[in-house]
């Protein structure tokens, strides 16, 4: 009897300790994240410029307005373009680099890994500004291309909508490949070497080993980086503002950049901006959910 009582109290104590550790963080998340989300939703139901906010008639008019907003639809198109083109390129590159740098016999591994990761340590604004001056009409890239006689005169990278989008994609790949590579590296190092030995004995070459063994074993890491990349790309802001300022005639503007314009550059309409931000939130949530379901290998 006594020992039973002590047993229960011990478990209860451990449970209580668990809750005690969780509570402060949970409270902070509720106050800092969930409460603002609820408030933002309420604001998105209101309309009016500046401080003259009132509830909209009908109540979801901000959401209906989004459907008619041509620039917003263009920004959605641009953001999804970046998502579909940039994320696969970046992840494939990251996983290949991770595989290369995981080689035990490679010299100067630490140096190469640092080099690939270093872009992530740069500030978003500074790297965007530098890329902007690199791809300027008389920037470094154009000077090199002209000197090598590939082009007659500088090509206006940032002035044409197609090439401006490509410049943004190149900048994104440069910046985030290292970040994802680190995740894949740590994932790779969790795979035991004996698995590769077994594959070698069975006669698999490098390519087959990679696709049939490494990638399936890395599945949880791939899913995680995929979700993070979707989240990051859908909320893309700094590059759009600093590299192209929305691009020639709104051809590279992203959703977050348009939301910012609605709040601070144009006559402020916070209700409409909140509605757009909520739509972005829903999109990210839906895509992440699909991602999880597709990648879920548990029974």
């Amino acid at each position: 009897m006594n020992s039973q009582k002590r047993g229960m109290t011990l478990i209860a104590k451990q449970k209580a300790a668990g809750w005690a550790f969780l509570t402060p963080a949970t409270l902070m998340i509720v106050v800092m994240s969930f409460y603002p989300m609820v408030r933002a939703f309420i604001i998105s139901l209101q309309t009016g410029t500046g401080a003259n906010m009132r509830f909209a008639e009908p109540i979801f008019s901000n959401y209906k307005r989004m459907m008619a907003d041509k620039v917003f639809k263009q920004s959605i198109g641009n953001t999804f373009f970046y998502l579909i083109i940039q994320v696969p390129i970046m992840l494939v590159l990251a996983i290949l680099l991770a595989q290369l740098l995981n080689n035990k016999d490679l010299k100067l591994k630490g140096f190469f890994r640092t080099c690939v990761f270093l872009p992530c340590a740069t500030s978003l604004v500074s790297y965007a500004l530098i890329f902007r001056s690199l791809f300027a009409q008389d920037g470094l890239i154009n000077s090199i291309l002209v000197k090598l006689h590939i082009l007659e005169s500088g090509y206006n990278f940032l002035g044409n909508s197609a090439s401006a989008k490509i410049v943004i994609i190149i900048a994104l790949v440069w910046r985030w490949t290292g970040y994802n590579m680190v995740f894949y590296l740590s994932g790779l190092q969790n795979i035991e070497y004996s698995v590769y030995e077994a594959a070698k004995i069975d006669g698999a070459n490098g390519w087959k080993t990679f696709w049939k063994i490494t990638v399936p074993l890395l599945k949880p890491t791939i899913i995680m980086t995929f979700i993070m990349s979707i989240n990051g790309t859908l909320q893309l802001f700094d590059e759009s503002v600093n590299l192209t300022k929305g691009g020639p005639a709104n051809s590279t503007i992203t959703m977050s950049h348009y939301v910012y314009n609605t709040c601070f550059i144009n006559v402020p309409n916070f209700g409409y901006a909140s509605a757009m931000a909520f739509l972005i939130f829903i999109m990210v949530a839906v895509l992440a959910f699909i991602n999880l379901k597709v990648g879920d290998t548990r029974d």
Binding site: G50, A51, K70, R132, A136, N156, L158, T244, A249, N266
Partner: protein, 442 residues
């Protein structure tokens, strides 16, 4: 034993660092709370806080105003917080929208183009200055209209945004023109001259930003019109003046008379590299020009070209410029009003003293008659540009203002880019009209 010691040591270090974080956090909030008090002046105090940008220009002028006022009012103090123009707008939007005016300063510098937007969104954020003692007739009518609503004045006009056409006389010589050939002309004459200049020298008579370019706004405003009608509604389709301006501008792009660049840095580069043989913009470009040593003596200013076929067209326009506003957070409105009135509002001596120090040109019409303003300027080959510019500013026509200035500019520039890329003019203008109307609805 060693493990125990290590774990206790690490835990202690963590606790200490958390406590330090907490302390510095409260220290920071302590600082920001004192800053909050400094946000507005205290009741009956002698201190004013100001938000302004540009150390060599606006901030310097405000400092000099403070010194001048201090001569008669020894306990007067002024505190200037350097805040960039965009930041001023963002900060004001944020605190006005939160309804918390306590972090706003007493006096704030605002760009004229953006002021109407703030007045529409946050009408109680600023103080009415109509009866503060300034003689409003001493200021150019157009400049005042930027900071007025229904005959009430909210701002003290400050730097003059009057536009001029700056030309490289040596490039013009090479192409066989004189500065007189470009004075008081029309845009179609400008296009002919521009084509010849480009053929003979390879330089552009005009450069402009592609999406953020002000040239098209200058053109329509020089006709006393805007991309909105008198009721403030979007007016692009059916606006004959607008269509003529857009036609001229697209013609300039197609005939290589104007070079479009992607952003502000590239725009300035065309000037410093000598690719631009002409600038049509606000007189504040002067500050950039005088820094280019190897172009000394090669520039001269004259009036803008005017739009053909429009009765109300003139050779004058305004771009930018700013005014000082007193926020409603100011506890010491009398002091602020008196300060602004006796320096920016009426003192010719003040404007004389800031001109050589900052090359800031006033909108105060009597100031244009002083000696300092009439001095010939070496950089411009001896042309007395300051008095010339003040004279130009008295001819600028008035036009209907709109809080949606930036939206209108973006829509029209987008339409122009689409037209040069092959879209038909009717479709591009229709899209611009619809987009602008859309942005204006709530």
């Amino acid at each position: 034993m060693k493990k125990k010691f290590l774990s206790v040591f690490l835990a202690g270090a963590m606790v200490l660092s958390l406590a330090a974080c907490g302390n510095s956090g409260s220290g920071d909030s302590g600082n920001s709370s004192t800053k909050k008090e400094e946000g507005g002046s205290s009741e009956g105090g002698n201190k004013l806080t100001v938000w302004a940008w540009d150390q060599t220009f606006n901030i310097k002028a405000m400092e000099m105003a403070g010194e001048q006022y201090k001569k008669d009012h020894p306990d007067f103090e002024i505190e200037i917080v350097e805040t960039s123009s965009d930041d001023c707008q963002t900060k004001l939007t944020t605190c006005a929208n939160a309804g918390d005016y306590s972090t706003m300063p007493d006096i704030v510098l605002m760009q004229d183009n953006s002021y109407q937007k703030f007045l529409k969104s946050y009408p109680d954020a600023f103080t009415d200055l109509t009866d503060c003692g300034i003689n409003w007739d001493d200021f150019a009518a157009l400049k005042q209209s930027y900071s007025m609503v229904d005959d009430k004045h909210y701002g003290v006009p400050y730097d003059n945004g009057v536009c001029a056409a700056f030309y490289r006389t040596d490039v013009l010589d090479e192409a066989g023109y004189k500065i007189e050939d470009l004075t008081d002309i029309t845009w179609s004459e400008f296009i002919k001259i521009g084509e010849n200049v480009h053929k003979k020298t390879g330089k552009y008579l005009l450069t402009s930003e592609s999406t953020g370019g002000d040239t098209i706004m200058l053109m329509i405003q020089s006709c006393g019109a805007n991309f909105v009608n008198e009721d403030g509604e979007a007016f692009i389709v059916g606006n004959e003046t607008a269509e003529k301006c857009i036609d001229l501008y697209t013609e300039m792009i197609e005939k290589d008379v104007v070079k479009l660049v992607n952003n502000w840095d590239e725009y300035i580069k065309t000037v410093t590299d000598g690719e631009a043989a002409g600038i049509v913009n606000g007189n504040w470009m002067n500050a950039t020009l005088v820094g280019i040593e190897d172009q000394k003596g090669l520039w001269q200013i004259t009036t803008l070209p005017k739009v053909d076929g429009v009765d109300t067209a003139t050779n004058y326009a305004n771009n930018g410029g700013s005014s000082w506003y007193i926020t409603s957070n100011c506890q010491n409105v009398e002091l602020a009003m008196d300060f602004l009135k006796s320096t920016f509002g009426s003192s010719t001596d003040f404007y004389d003293s800031i001109l050589p120090a900052t090359s800031g040109i006033a909108c105060y019409l009597p100031a244009g008659e002083s000696e300092v303003y009439n001095e010939p300027v070496e950089f411009y080959g001896g042309q007395p540009i300051y008095s010339t510019l003040v004279e130009y500013s008295s001819h600028i026509p008035e036009f209907t203002k709109t809080p949606y200035h930036y939206e209108a500019r973006e829509c029209v520039n987008t339409a122009i880019i689409n037209i040069t890329n092959g879209t038909s003019k009717e479709d591009a203008l229709k899209e611009a009209q619809e987009t602008l109307e859309f942005k204006m609805t709530e």
